[in-house]
Symmetry: C2
């Protein structure tokens, strides 16, 4: 398996920017329409898992993707280093707590996959305990899907030289200083090791499939992920529920109006 | 005091639709810019409390207000009837839990004021215990503001006949059936009692001031609340933080790049 080496972070050569941008606008409108239905139906939910190296554009993507959608229908959760309280529990405890409510779309900006990635590259957990996490994550994701949460897993693929440009912008641009972390440059030194762990994740945690998305350019990234989210929602086909009333029938002129 | 009788839910006669809609676009852009800074600064937060009768347009307002803003910077929380677990705690326990994190804007779609309104109109709590809640809420809101959470409290004023039209649309329009609740029509029978309690709330819980907003029409509602939110954010004047780095100085050409 060498999925990442085979994948072009610039996107397929057949993609034309103008066409994809037009398609994206249509897909964003679909996401609005279907996420409204999902919220109205109030039975199922969607979890969008975003993984990728620093600077692969997760924050910008989240803003663009849900531009038409109400913030009341979308939750975004960024997983940082676990707190002291979180560390007193198993690694999936804090993840479970943030899973979407019925009717909602939740975005994980980083996720439980960090709990495989970080110890695999930096140590701190026995190899056999890391090994167990692959199966535990598969079991957890299957349980969530069986209970009505559709999971979309995205790896945001960016080339190392494009990442460097993005990280450097954070140093050059005063409005982006807050995004800078020396740690991101340190993490970058371990690029090949991270890719090796990702390949293993794609292979072993693929019961809920991974989607590798080209992220060197913003328009390919936004097009690819909007298509994934829109297609998933369309396939779920959430329905507006019928009128629930003991007092009224549809068409109020026939109904008893009490005021 | 009779604030609500003096307030015109159509908005001031001096407001012109075309001009206010232009102004609103500018205000929404301001909300985007300043909420980004608030998030980057990561020191303070904003709580927007929305109260109003059913059909006063809270849901639509939330969607429009944060159209340009990332869902990663805004949380929306709707308080329903308390759960069994919530009822085993004081009434502010679940409210405190949902207060905004540093850097965030949180919207309460209904709030702790329901814990005064509902028992005042329907009973279930001794009058002297309801009385205590006014002070407890003042103390709680002051504590939150002293700790960096700026609170904006909005009463969404709609005329009873306009409300009836909105509620009837939910019966007539299949896509709106899910919003219908017989209970809303029952609540409506207690309109005068609710207004009386609101007047008392405006009088006694005004340490953090209330803003009564004209909600008969969507454009007056959106203009008035965008202005409140934009003005509050501008007054807070959140700042992009300086570069924090042990390795780099602004302008990367002078910096040691490790890759």
């Amino acid at each position: 398996m060498n999925l990442l080496k085979k994948h072009d972070p610039n996107g397929p050569s057949s993609w034309r920017k103008a066409k994809m941008e037009r398609d994206t606008q249509r897909l964003l409108a679909d996401i609005y329409e279907y996420s409204k239905r999902l919220f109205a139906e109030h039975q199922r939910s969607v979890l969008l898992v975003l993984q990728g190296m620093d600077g692969s554009g997760k924050d910008g993507l989240i803003r663009e993707l849900f531009k038409l959608v109400s913030p009341a229908w979308v939750n975004v959760h960024s997983f940082k280093a676990p707190s002291v309280e979180e560390l007193t529990h198993d690694f999936l405890w804090r993840v479970h707590d943030k899973m979407p409510e019925k009717g909602m779309i939740t975005v994980f900006n980083r996720s439980h996959y960090e709990d495989i990635l970080v110890p695999s590259v930096y140590g701190g957990l026995a190899a056999r305990d890391i090994e167990k996490r692959y199966k535990q994550i598969n079991d957890f994701e299957r349980m969530a899907e069986e209970n009505g949460t559709k999971i979309i897993k995205v790896y945001m693929n960016i080339a190392p030289n494009v990442q460097a440009k993005k990280l450097r912008e954070r140093i050059d641009t005063p409005e982006k200083h807050w995004k800078h972390s020396d740690q991101d440059w340190e993490t970058r030194e371990h690029w090949a090791e991270f890719m090796e762990v990702y390949e293993k994740i794609f292979l072993k945690c693929n019961d809920v499939p991974w989607h590798i998305v080209p992220c060197n350019r913003n328009w390919t990234k936004l097009y690819a992920v909007s298509k994934l989210v829109a297609d998933t929602l369309k396939k779920m086909d959430p329905q507006f529920p019928p009128l629930k009333s003991d007092k009224f029938t549809p068409n109020y002129e026939k109904a008893r109006i009490s005021y």
